[in-house]
Symmetry: D2
Subunit: 384 residues, 4 copies
């Protein structure tokens, strides 16, 4: 009895249904597989196990909930400095194991863990990445990849030696609106690109424990540019597909503001791209939360605001001579997409789209920005 | 060593970190639990197990993915007419068991299943609800609760006899924007309510297998009003907190359109509410997808568009004498919130917010609308 | 020396210009007429002279300023009950003459006046229209054309007898966004029309002198429906190009609100159009200012909000299966366009697009709405 | 008989009105002067007479129509290279006289003309300003005030010698949204200002006669920066109330694009303001029409897009921690406001808000931008 038979038969059954509902049930047969909006998930026991290192605000509010939306990744362990907190979170999220920062190296013997996801203050990115690699695990590391380009190079070298994948956790490059922006910018749909602008900043609030470390140079490695400006630096590169040749920048911080004793507040910079494309960016720890970008092409302007928010993304296209139109796409979980990509790299043994080098390139550009601000001159951005 | 100690110690450690990163790691200790944006999840083995009956487009694209975002519910079984499809979906989503429509009654012996979620063509809502209740399970049933008010009454009675909860799957009442709209409408923030309007419709496409049954009266029990207009009927009630006293309506269908041989296309209706509040609604199977509502109060107008979309909700508030402002809230998964609510009802043994009676009330209003369209007069909406 | 010669010659001249600017001037010759965005104006002495009767808030803030934007109409006189006010306003706006309500009939001898524009409380529309016609003038009369359909018929008959044009001042039908909406709705671009909704209302404020008369039945002839609901009634007709066959309506007013002792507050109505098109409208004197409409076609939905504001109009098009897009048009002065249309009718001796009959049709529909609200039944809308 | 008497009396009169309308008229007496939204206009014969020099696209589509909306200025003459065109335009707009570029100096004897408004290709700004001053007239001159700062200084000196006012036609500074932005930025409502960004550009189209001269260095004095970038330079100054201390810039033009043989395409620049405020701007002749700006303060971000369009302005305010809200203001004619301001300067004998020095300051900044682009260094912006 196929679906057509079902439909032919049902009026009678349904009519009967009202009086005595049970007979209708046998007529209900399976239907063909519907079109799925997303790929089918892997059975849980075939998914790639992740250990999440660091259980702060970001991990608990974004990453662990996103695990439930993954199709190829699953939570295999959590790592916290507080064993009680680790135990509680592991239980709630169904992770079979939990570790502390001290006993973290034991993860080497945990076969359920294939990937270590490092979510710690910046200065700890390198040491925990190196410990994870020594334990034989692949590493997904939060941005910025390290506090210095030199550290990032060391991490890349370590991954190569360990024959493991190192991926920079650039969630925006796995997010649907940004993927669509990349497609439109690089396909020529916007015409030759003429200018990219991006402003990314937010008020840093040291009274919030999640921000306290950010204004300490020794922990963060830098201020707004390392923390949020890096989204703008990265976007200029991924939207254009080009690497900055030179950087020019100004840095300004209110000397009376105690937040900016160690790290910078505002940075305004330009990149010259090899094609002649210009970019202008800003970041700040003192202006209102801003996460926006614009790509100006000869044929159309594409605008995103917010471009890189956790919860919301909005995009508009303004073709030359026409009205600006909002482009609506489904808002999918970008963290899940990013972790699934890392899982695919492991499953298929291929380099992730945003490897360690992707994080290194942004740190090279960031260091050129800092040097230009010191010297008042254009500074060449060195290659990887 | 507490967090303050950590921060005092880190400059040294971080400086060392660049040269030799490993020593820094011991300084990284656990931090206090951050503020969570959502309640903590129950450990998986304490969550309430759901059996999902029917694996069509809606179940596969919305409900099963939403299970991963639940904090109190988990998938315990799937039920499909096609055993191979059932097995495949069960494996992908980690459900330990799968059933067919034929052997569904065996679920009675499946202790992992506490709730049966019925997602089938409307005419099958009653028989499967009754089978699930006989198997000793609680039931979450898709909207409309049944094809007729009489069937809905029978289902409510069956649940009462079985001492099990019956909940109508009105997702909008568990969705954040709609919760906020209810709060504002009922708290007096908008002033006395004067008018509620809502238009909900979409083009029905019988060539799509997911729509084929909708134009068959014997399967659907009705046209656009049963299917999408019910969102507007329900919203008028949940926004106002009132029950319609009388209904007036017109129905119009293009006689040349083969889609409308059995079911209606367009319905335009008014309700008179006991307080003097008026409402105006429309639904259609032939106009472009529309899911909007407006609440007009003396002090402010609140508008949602789309109000009840799967992926997107947008809301604006227009106070008297001021500019209309968009109200941004996080877009959370409404299906997960709904299933978690059912799970809470089971765990805490209390009636769900949208019990069977909630579905019955809409069917009584729908039947009054149909009668008014036939007679050209106001028709009283009977009480439950 | 043509434009090309100019451009060939200018580098030299301009270079000289910096040092000694005067020689450059001779090289600057006239250029061809550029493309004009609007028709060329008539010389002032060939424009049609208007006498504006009534110098209240609307006349002083909207109509007299709009005269400066007219291209075929000009202000020839003002008429006020207060001679000092009349003299002052006439001088400020360059009107050669001013009259009082008492000596208004002397306008018959004023050859500069060809059109009388009546802007008075509704009950005075008929008597002043008739006086103007007797004085041999054409008449532009504010909406609603009269307080009753009977009065409107009398005014139309009087104009016919006097062989003068009578035009209803339906500014929306001369406004660019509404013209574009009409074009799209009637051209088939939206597909067959399925539903039109429109809500037009605002809080009436009797403490404002401009509103005081509106809640007095003897002056206004009715409440929100006569005053603002008429925009929705008119829009349903001009968007569809159809005349309502039948009306159904409810009227509700808070009995405790002293504003609604003589006139109604809220009206919700439906029209059945001959083609099967449905419409739903509302008006109110107690909800926040609202001026919106939606046209639902099979292929696309067109939305305007606000549709009929003095200063702003916004329009969106939502094609089936695509994103809603805002349609941006220049915001032109709708009052000037309306008066220029009346001037054209006089200059070219042809009926205006919104003659007296256009106002009468809305009054017939309004009276059917009132009767339906009294009887609880569908009421036929009689033809002109 | 006052207004209250009228209202008491009217029910009877109105009732009579239906049967025999004429008697009602006597009861209609004058009402008190309503609140006006804008200042009362001067009688036409007391307004300040303008001669408009140059009848191109901008003059015919924007300036002459705007004259009808002026309250203190009126059109007294037009000046064109083509006497027939001049005569036709003068007649249509009611200007009593018209001149050619050759006989323009005769305007000295035209007592109806008090102000000469120069709307010519940039290189002619200085010579025509000087001729008008020699004829004893005040001058309103289009932007940029001149092609070079040296020319601007000469024009300012000439006005001072002639004891006449020279005003730069910076319409944005007379436009309501920009006035409101200035108020908010300078009042501290946004908190201390941290960054201002502005992008102003449009594709230049030499095949359009209105653009042909713009790509000729000898006529325009520069490319996109002189033409549209000047809006961004000016906005950074008027929003902050500060003068740039230093400028840094890059210029890029596609060498293969024939439009950019003489003038530049794209400019990206930074200003350092004395307070520590940073600004970033861009202009282009090759990206889609863009006219936007953002002011980032510590407490709120204010955004305008478009900021300086002829027809439309939109503005949003985003306070820290709150949703961005659109700020709606009436769209008033900015050209009329600007000309009325010049008229007030003449009537009240006081300097205009945007004198010649205002235009000079932007030219000094523009020249610093150009020098920085040549040298790759920060360049000091000299004072006036």
């Amino acid at each position: 009895m196929d679906r057509r038979t079902l439909l032919a038969a049902t009026p009678v059954l349904a009519a009967a249904g009202t009086a005595a509902a049970q007979p209708a049930a046998p007529a209900l047969v399976g239907r063909p597989m519907p079109k799925l909006e997303q790929p089918e998930p892997l059975p849980p026991d075939r998914r790639v196990g992740f250990a999440v290192v660091g259980l702060g605000k970001f991990a608990l509010n974004q990453i662990l909930p996103a695990m439930g939306e993954c199709r190829k990744a699953r939570l295999a362990a959590v790592v916290s400095g507080d064993p009680a907190k680790g135990a509680r979170i592991a239980a709630q999220h169904g992770a079979p194991r939990h570790y502390t920062y001290e006993n973290f190296d034991e993860v080497a013997r945990d076969l359920a863990v294939q990937v270590v996801y490092v979510i710690l203050p910046n200065v700890f990115h390198r040491p925990f990445t190196e410990r994870a690699l020594r334990a034989g695990k692949h590493v997904l590391c939060e941005k910025p990849l390290a506090t210095t380009a030199a550290d990032a190079r060391a991490m890349i070298a370590a991954a190569r030696s360990a024959d493991r994948w190192l991926m920079t956790a650039y969630r925006a490059q796995y997010e649907g609106f940004n993927r669509e922006a990349i497609r439109r910018a690089r396909s020529g749909e916007l015409g030759p690109l003429r200018l990219i602008t991006s402003d990314h900043g937010r008020p840093v609030k040291p009274e919030d424990p999640a921000d306290e470390w950010r204004i300490r140079q020794a922990l963060s490695g830098g201020g707004s540019l390392h923390d949020v400006g890096v989204y703008a630096v990265n976007a200029m590169r991924y939207l254009s597909g080009e690497e900055p040749a030179e950087a020019f920048a100004t840095i300004a911080s209110d000397p009376a503001d105690p937040r900016f004793r160690e790290v910078e507040d505002r940075v305004a910079w330009q990149f010259r791209m090899p094609s002649g494309l210009l970019t202008q960016g800003s970041t700040s720890y003192s202006y209102r939360e801003t996460k926006r970008l614009t790509v100006f092409g000869e044929k159309a302007t594409l605008r995103m605001d917010p471009a890189t928010d956790y919860d919301l993304r909005r995009m508009w296209l303004a073709p030359e001579g026409e009205t600006e139109t909002e482009i609506l796409l489904p808002l999918r979980n970008q963290f899940a997409a990013m972790m699934d990509h890392m899982a695919e790299s492991v499953l298929e043994n291929r380099a992730p789209r945003t490897p360690g080098e992707e994080g290194l390139r942004d740190l090279l550009a960031i260091e050129a920005i800092h040097e230009s601000a010191r010297t008042g001159r254009w500074v060449r951005v060195p290659p990887v």
